[in-house]
């Protein structure tokens, strides 16, 4: 801004503005806005490590507690692995989802995002992708530790695919519901109450499919659960994508 412009009388400056080129702000591309939100979330988390450290510590504690609480033989351990894993992922995921949206709300940043001239679905997808990324990072850290403690090989391509599909569905629905719950004073309690009933299909399918892979069941037995996971991901991501604008609106 030039010093001259500051000193000009306001009316004159207003006339000058009216004759100027259009404002610099323009509607951002959908993809550009989505990527900006993801990169911002990752950069902020890289600095604070608040969210990832909380999720990781919680996950490891749950795995350790189950390990000592269930003194089982190897065969039985295989049987409970899928349930223990998804209980860990679901609770750690909820922790991350709550924190991720609370960061936006506490300093008014959610308003800052909503004031930008972008499609709000891009904001939703950006938040959902960063939430998914945080879940996957925690899962990647938990799996080898779990394999070591329980003496079960979890690093199988089929099982990894199930974890990815389950996490996508969980993050997609969780991001939408965390945007709903963030306005409530009791958001920490509200999110799991809203999320778990809606996430029941994805959790059941993920546990069944994971259990199938761990028991070396034929693919034909696992396929229906994989199909359910894919269907859930597509349907619920689409619904959340369409509803986000209404959810964040006053």
């Amino acid at each position: 801004m030039s010093a001259q412009a500051v000193q000009r009388p306001r009316a004159e400056a207003a006339d000058a503005r009216a004759g100027e080129a259009p404002p610099r702000g323009r509607s951002s591309s959908f993809f550009g806005a989505m990527v900006a939100v993801v990169q911002k979330d990752i950069a902020a988390e890289f600095r604070s490590r608040e969210l990832l450290s909380a999720m990781l510590v919680f996950s490891l504690l749950v795995v350790l507690i189950f390990n000592f609480a269930l003194e089982l033989d190897i065969q039985t351990r295989r049987g409970v692995t899928a349930g223990v894993l998804w209980t860990t992922f679901a609770f750690a995921g909820t922790l991350g989802l709550n924190r991720s949206m609370a960061v936006e709300k506490d300093r008014g940043c959610l308003d800052g995002l909503l004031l930008a001239p972008v499609d709000r679905a891009a904001i939703y997808l950006g938040k959902a992708i960063s939430n998914l990324a945080f879940m996957l990072v925690v899962e990647a850290a938990v799996l080898p530790i779990y394999s070591f403690l329980y003496n079960v090989n979890l690093l199988r391509p089929g099982l990894l695919l199930v974890i990815l599909l389950g996490s996508i569905g969980y993050a997609a629905v969780g991001t939408l519901l965390s945007a709903m719950a963030v306005h409530a004073r009791t958001r920490d309690i509200l999110l799991p109450i809203l999320l778990f009933p809606l996430a029941v299909p994805v959790l059941i399918a993920a546990v069944k499919a994971s259990g199938g892979y761990l028991a070396n069941a034929p693919y034909a037995d696992i396929k229906p659960w994989i199909s359910l996971l894919i269907g859930y991901d597509v349907i619920f991501t689409s619904i959340a994508y369409m509803l986000f604008d209404f959810v964040v609106e006053e």
């Binding site: 503005r17 702000g25 308003d111 800052g112 006053e250």
Partner: protein, 232 residues
């Protein structure tokens, strides 16, 4: 620049804004005054497209709300008592993020220009959470004017600022207004509003109870004008 006709806003059974009419010409600096609960923040949230009106017509910068909200947002800058900034990012990273959200060309130069204007160029690399409240508020103004908006809305920008920070904010606001932007500011600080604004509107019980330009106010004290407006 802003035209509001018959605006009504209800939250459930409670009516916050009642048949409100409001006009702002280009380049005007309007101080929107009123007691707590008068509806000032709700009104500004509607003007900024964050809240939808229950009834009535709202036009900002030639676009109607809520139908052309995206076009309005591109020409609007909003500053509230919350900074709308990420504490774990530096000032520059915050502005760079918003520059991407507003699709600003030549963002680097514009960010430098804005940081210079709000006097934070030498602290550009510091995390925002290490800033004082006053510095955060100045950066919030920088964020709001990054995309060179025609209209700026300030919702209680002086909340929580000490005397020095408030005086510094006065200077920034004068600069912003001097560029010919249209400004609407809500405030409880009548002394500051009297110095900065060119027009004073008093919002009471969901309606504009009184409106006067500084010239029309003449020798009448703003506090007296305000009290008379509230007395009805």
């Amino acid at each position: 620049m802003i035209t509001v006709r018959g605006l009504v806003k209800r939250f459930g059974m409670k009516t916050v804004l009642r048949d409100l009419d409001f006009d702002v010409n280009p380049g005007e600096f309007v101080a929107l005054l009123g007691p707590n609960g008068a509806g000032k923040t709700t009104f500004l949230r509607i003007l900024s497209s964050l809240s939808k009106p229950s009834a009535g017509h709202v036009m900002v910068a030639g676009h109607s709300l809520p139908h052309q909200a995206s076009a309005v947002r591109a020409r609007l800058g909003v500053v509230s008592h919350l900074p709308l900034l990420y504490g774990d990012l530096t000032a520059e990273e915050n502005l760079r993020f918003y520059a991407r959200m507003y699709n600003i060309l030549n963002a680097g130069a514009r960010i430098e220009e804005v940081l210079q204007l709000v006097g934070l160029l030498d602290r550009r690399g510091d995390l925002v959470r290490t800033y004082s409240r006053g510095m955060q508020q100045r950066l919030a103004i920088g964020r709001a004017m990054l995309h060179d908006p025609d209209v700026m809305l300030f919702d209680e920008p002086y909340t929580g600022l000490d005397q020095d920070a408030a005086t510094m904010l006065d200077g920034v606001l004068r600069n912003v207004a001097g560029q010919g932007r249209t400004i609407v500011m809500t405030s409880h600080d009548l002394a500051r509003a009297e110095v900065l604004a060119t027009r004073f509107d008093v919002l009471s019980r969901g309606r504009i109870a009184a409106s006067s330009t500084r010239r029309a106010l003449g020798k009448l004290n703003l506090l007296t004008f305000y009290k008379r407006a509230l007395a009805g």
